[in-house]
Amino acid sequence: MISIQAIASYVPSTRENNLAKCEKFEMEPDFILEKIGVEFASRAAPDELASNMSLAAFAELQKKVSIDPAQIDCIVVCTQNPDNGGLPHVSAKVHGGIKGEDQCACFDIGLGCSGYVYSLSVVRAFMEANGLKQGLLFTADPYSKIVDPDDRNTSLLFGDAATVTLLSDKGAWLPELFAFGTRGGGGQYIQKKDGVLEMNGRAVFNFSATVVPAQIKGLMERHNLAMEDIDLFFLHQGSRYIVDNLKERLDIPGERVPANLLDQGNTVSSSIPLMLQDYLHQTGYRRFLLAGFGVGLSWASCILNRVG
C-alpha cells in the first residue's frame, strides 16, 4: 500500500505585517490576531513561482530522507497558480529541476484548499493502480500573485508556501476513508476575476461552517469512528474564526486541533501538510483526520491511519 513516508516544506522568508495595516483597513489588532488569526502573511518573491517553490520544498525533503530522483515514479503538483498559465505543467518543470527519469509520470491537479486531501486520494490510487513505488506530491499555490493588496477580505488572509509529501511503499501513514464534495453553483464565491482573487466572506463562512462538520460526522459514522478515536484533527486553516467555529460545531477540544495560521497565513493546499509534517514522527499518535475546504466550492476529508 502507498502511504505517507515524509513531508517537507518551504515558506518564503518575506512577511507582511498585518498589524501594520490596522489603520488602512480600520480594524483593531485584536480582530486581526484573534479572529482572522494571521499576524504575518508570507509572501513569495516576484521570481518565486509554484515550480521553484516546489523545488525549495524538495531540497528540504532531501535533508530529511535519502531520495534518489531517478527512483521517483511520479510527481504531482497541486496548484491553481501554475507558472506561465500551466504550459508546461508545473510538475514537468519540477521533474526537470530534480532531474527525474523519463519514465516518471507527472501531472498537475487544479484544486485549492481542498487540494491536499483530494490529491492524496488521487496519487495513492494512481500509484497503486500502476505499481509505482515512490511519488512526490507537491502543494504550491502562491495566491499572493492574485491577491489585491487593497482587498480587506483577502490580503490579510492568504500566505505563500510549498510542501512536498513523499508517498511510498515504505510509508507509515495510510490515507484512506475519503469523502469528497463539490458545490459548483457556489463557484462565484471564491473566484479569480480579471486576474484578481475575489471572495464573498459571508458565503464562504456559511459554506464552510455547514458542509465540513456534516462531512466529518458522516465519514466517522460510516466507519464507526467516534471523536475519541481521532488523535488530531487537521482542519484547513481558512481563518482562525472558521477553525474555532468548526471546533465548536464538532465539539472537538482545542488541543486536538493543530493550528499554524499566525506566522504565514492561509497557505491554501499547503495548510494541512505544513501542520502534518510536525506530527508524523511523533510517538503516541495512531489516527488523524484531515479536512480541506474552499474554492470550488470544494471539500474533502480523510483518515490517516498509522501503519508503520
Partner: protein, 79 residues
Amino acid sequence: MSDLKLAVENIVRSVAILKTPDINSTKTLKELGVDSLELMNIFLVIAEKYAVDIPDEEIDQLDTIDKIVDYLTPRLGKS
C-alpha cells in the same frame, strides 16, 4: 418580550463577545460590540434555527435586534 426577540438576543449573546451584558435592542449590533465575523455567524445561526435565507443585500439593513425581529416575524408566521 416576545419569544422570538428573546431567542434572537440569546443567539447574539452566544455568538458574540458583547461590550456589556445588557442588550439594548435598538442599538446597532456594532454598538453592542458585534464584529463583522460574529455578524456572519449570528445570521448563519438564525438561518439554521428558523430555516430562513437572508440575502446579503438585506443584511446591511438588519443592524439592530429589533430590526432582525421585525424581519423574521412575517417570515415565520409569528406576531
